[in-house]
Symmetry: C2
Subunit: 357 residues, 2 copies
């Protein structure tokens, strides 16, 4: 690859803002010439793109913790890439790095803003999952806000997903009882058998609320909220006095466009907050990066090596499949951490088998 002719990136841009559930029309695939490198920059060939529920928020203009993607701009997202060309003193062609390059095949990035990855230490894709943002979200939210004590009961929804699976497994490491909520028998079996949760409840069951109640005989001390909606409604009556509710996502309601019909449950919710001395705490993982990320990488790498944390990835091939995969994610159709394989890793073959030793 030469810097004489411009490098083309195939990319997915936001074509229009969704009204409710996103559809294929909201995305457009296009090719764009990348600029030639300035000092300090690197050209990346993207290998993996992370798809995460928070991206739904970026498609809307509703006030949130981050600016929305502008119509016509590349969809944002965490990526693992390979350095193709470098004008940064510490990065060389062939280096693998974590970047935030979005839904595209190539990108030019400031070399100071990417993080080198050790491909021999862990599968590269895990930098987007259990060892990346979702894993850190679980670690920081559970330990800093949820603060599970030994013998307490921790409940998490989307328990087969990258955040939920880490929440439950870390809760168990800390001596708590982990109860997962997942959709359908396959995910439930995975949560119970592969991830080792103490109990799992299927939210698609017509007896879900009763099943959940039976699964938490001592009530719920920590509810790690990452879905909202009907699942949350079943959980809240079961919270114990002094329960903690870290809120990191509300995927079940990201596509709703207006307040649902009544009755208005807000006053009753506040009554519960008061009578049970509840703690409800929203957070974005970035808040805790400075204080906790080094601990997170050390602890979780160790727990994976010790076999205490398992993880599952759901790999989709090709950047052009990203929109469909993302819409499936919002509908709960993925199974495990959803990652788009944008390009094959040239060295090392299959990056998804467990290479921990």
């Amino acid at each position: 690859m030469s810097s004489d002719s411009p490098v083309q990136s195939t990319r997915i841009v936001l074509a229009s803002r969704p009204d409710g559930e996103p559809s294929a029309d909201n995305f457009r695939i296009e090719a764009a010439n990348l600029p030639s490198l300035a000092d300090g920059q690197v050209l990346l060939r993207i290998l993996y793109l992370s798809l995460d529920p928070y991206m739904r928020g970026r498609m809307s203009t509703a006030k949130s913790y981050a600016d929305p993607v502008e119509v016509g701009d590349v969809m944002v997202g965490g990526t693992v890439g390979e350095v193709v060309e470098s004008r940064h003193p510490k990065l060389s062609p062939g280096d693998r790095v974590l970047s935030y390059s979005g839904w595209q095949t190539h990108a030019v990035e400031n070399g100071d803003h990417v993080r080198p990855l050790d491909a021999s230490a862990a599968p590269l894709s895990t930098a987007l999952g259990v060892l990346g943002m979702p894993g850190f979200t679980a670690y920081a939210g559970l330990l800093e806000i949820g603060k599970p004590k030994e013998g307490e009961t921790v409940v998490v929804a989307a328990a087969s997903g990258p955040v939920g699976s880490a929440v439950g497994q870390i809760a168990k490491i800390k001596g708590a009882r982990a109860v997962g909520i997942a959709g359908g028998p396959d995910k439930c079996a995975h949560v119970r058998d592969e991830l080792g949760f103490d109990a799992v409840v299927d939210h698609r069951s017509p007896t879900f609320a009763d099943d959940l109640k039976a699964a938490v005989p001592d009530g719920i001390d920590v509810y790690f909220e990452n879905v909202g909606g009907a699942v949350a409604s079943a959980v809240f009556p079961l919270l114990n006095t002094y329960a903690r509710v870290p809120v990191c996502g509300l995927v079940a309601q990201y596509n709703t466009t207006e307040a649902p019909e009544g009755p208005d449950r807000l006053p009753g919710f506040f009554r519960s907050v008061l009578t049970k001395s509840l703690t409800i705490r929203g957070f974005i993982q970035t808040e805790f990066v400075r204080a906790l990320q080094a601990d997170f990488r050390r602890d979780v790498a160790k727990w994976i090596a010790e076999g205490k944390i398992a993880y599952k990835e759901d790999i989709v091939d090709g950047i052009d499949n990203a929109p469909k995969a993302f819409m499936g994610l919002l509908a709960g159709r993925n199974f495990g951490k959803l990652v788009v394989r944008v390009a094959e890793e040239e060295q090392g073959g299959d990056g998804f088998s467990c290479r921990w030793s």
Copy 2:
């Protein structure tokens, strides 16, 4: 007074449970003979009875942090009494004590469960207000949960009441900007001029929401929630990222019997919790007694002595007036800490003027 003939207590019992707003029918005045003293007990003549919003919760069977008052039982409440007769080694006739004897003129108590008061150090009634449970609620909730930083904006409703007035004044001592919400021009003037809040907003004004917005140009960092209802609805959109909301009371909705009509604001509320990384934390002051009560007594006594904390009491004479005064409290008709003078203090005359030196 002799122990040969039984002592009679005139008392207010719960006659029936209210459906919504309590009415006079829900209370009954009666006389009851008290038992003679067992070892370790004292007979108290009650001087002051505290009336507080939480008592509304005790009149209902709805699940709460404390058991309800049974129909036919004496209404509960904090009291200041004088020891008339003692079979406790450390208490003598004439001693003044804090007890939890409820709405009655006399009571027999375990002497280990009352706290001696120094009538020369502070007016006795303050043990039910600024130096008692309401003051401690403000102190613990603001400092442990609200954690105001210098230059931040703290908003509190019922700002002329015993909790709100202490919240705003302690916030100012900690270097924060205190904005009060109160009902009507007299209370607002008191909050601004006597209590020294930086700004005050009248929630009865038709432009309340706009007035509040104008009073918090930098948004709200701490909202000390003690009322709920329409005031809370105006406050929530103004909360800043990382705002903290200690929830110690919801007096505006204590009399509601069912969820109000929609739309359902709960999903939108959770969206705000997430996008603004809010902390919502219900609490009952008892949670913090062991850790903080000694600090509280030391700090607040000092602040009162230094003229940094003013307080206002609303004294009603006679136990028979307690029900009417309590109904007025729930409707916001009191002005300052509501206390029933059950009997005259025999020594020291007027206990309500400021005797701090």
